[in-house]
Symmetry: C2
Subunit: 232 residues, 2 copies
């Protein structure tokens, strides 16, 4: 299925390890990517670092607001402590765009214990902040950043939840463009499972002496994928 | 590691497909099993059905209260609509026993949407009902009953959460005795992930045309299992 490559993806918090890993994979896949950060100099540094790998389209660096303004899809990859503030910063320019929330609401120091915010999950909190008409998907919570930074295949699936089937299809295409296997995991309310699973995987890493615990969906012999064409 | 086989397991709701599947697997493994039901005749019928397969120790059938009274480990496998009532029924005899809650808080008709009770999960609701000193584990939410009924290997892992490491170790042993692979998934607060995952797996079954979607934990190359010896 052909992907419309004319859309631009902003990765807010794209200077962090996870955001930079995703941005780099999308840039290498030929997508137009803008790195967003609170600090425009750090955004430009991260963009230059990715560009040194000679991507088809040059990655740009901007402050979060201008990165979101320039994009069709806005990926939010910030620590949970900056989640609300970043959304408030870019809220005015998100109209008509899709937000893909990557945030995991970890509450240090007990990061192995699931502790969801009152809204139910970080993605549901984003919906509270942006309003009920916002198009929001939630994805990528369970991939370790070390995995994202390499070019190798990743033995961990991505659960994609979202406010509509169409929003999930856009996020599933982003998963695919990043070289990962994604699953339509249902409505945005289900995001608490993918977000909470991160605490369980950290616990499993600790208990079983591993570093990159992940999950694979089993029992779907003929993975007849739902439509992933980008219609944005 | 040797398992102490002197303990007795009550399966409340053991006349249902899932409870009967678990009871049957434990009985075949040589454990002492009591089927509990609101209806003692149905409990005896289910026990007779399992006994027809010639288990090492004869399975008994009792009403829920007497089944719980006779057991060291009480497994709760009832529809969510009977969860609170069943716990209230057996609460007085649970002192000093371990409860293994198998309940998934599905809210028909939207069973593909995660809808946790106010306590945060069914297992956390059990803790509210039984009190903070209760020993509770949560497990087996993601295994389809068709899988449990056969003797074949099951391609789905079991996430085990619980109020203490020791409680989780007991539940992990039950997982192992049922012929399944289990993982210590952390504190009981994490039960919302395993419970909620069931809705996601039902959604995946529906979207991708499957019947037995499950999960496997990946990325733990040397599964150095935590202690599973039963110390009850």
């Amino acid at each position: 299925m052909e992907t419309d490559k004319r859309w631009t993806i902003a990765v807010l918090g794209g200077t962090g390890k996870e955001g930079k890993g995703l941005a780099s994979r999308w840039a290498k896949a030929g997508l137009s990517v803008v790195i967003g950060s609170r600090n425009i100099d750090r955004a430009k540094e991260a963009a230059a670092e990715i560009n040194s790998a000679k991507c088809p389209i040059s990655v740009q660096g901007k402050d979060n607001l201008n990165a979101a303004r320039a994009a069709d899809i806005v990926v939010l990859s910030v620590p949970y402590s900056a989640h609300r503030e970043t959304l408030e910063t870019v809220k005015s320019v998100l109209q008509g765009k899709i937000l893909v929330d990557v945030t995991v609401p970890l509450v240090p120091p007990k990061v192995t214990k699931v502790q969801m915010p009152p809204a139910g999950s970080a993605a549901l909190e984003a919906r509270e902040i942006l309003g009920d008409t916002a198009e929001i998907a939630s994805a990528f919570q369970n991939i370790s950043f070390e995995h994202l930074q390499g070019d190798h295949e990743i033995g961990c699936d991505v659960l994609v939840t979202g406010t509509s089937k169409e929003t999930r299809a856009v996020a599933l295409d982003l998963v695919s463009q990043a070289g990962l296997a994604g699953w339509d995991a249902g409505p945005l309310e289900n995001s608490m499972v993918a977000e909470g699973l991160t605490s369980i995987l950290i616990h499993i890493n600790k208990i079983y002496g591993a570093n990159h615990a992940g999950i694979k969906i089993t029992g779907v012999p003929d993975k007849n994928q739902p439509s992933r064409e980008i219609t944005k």
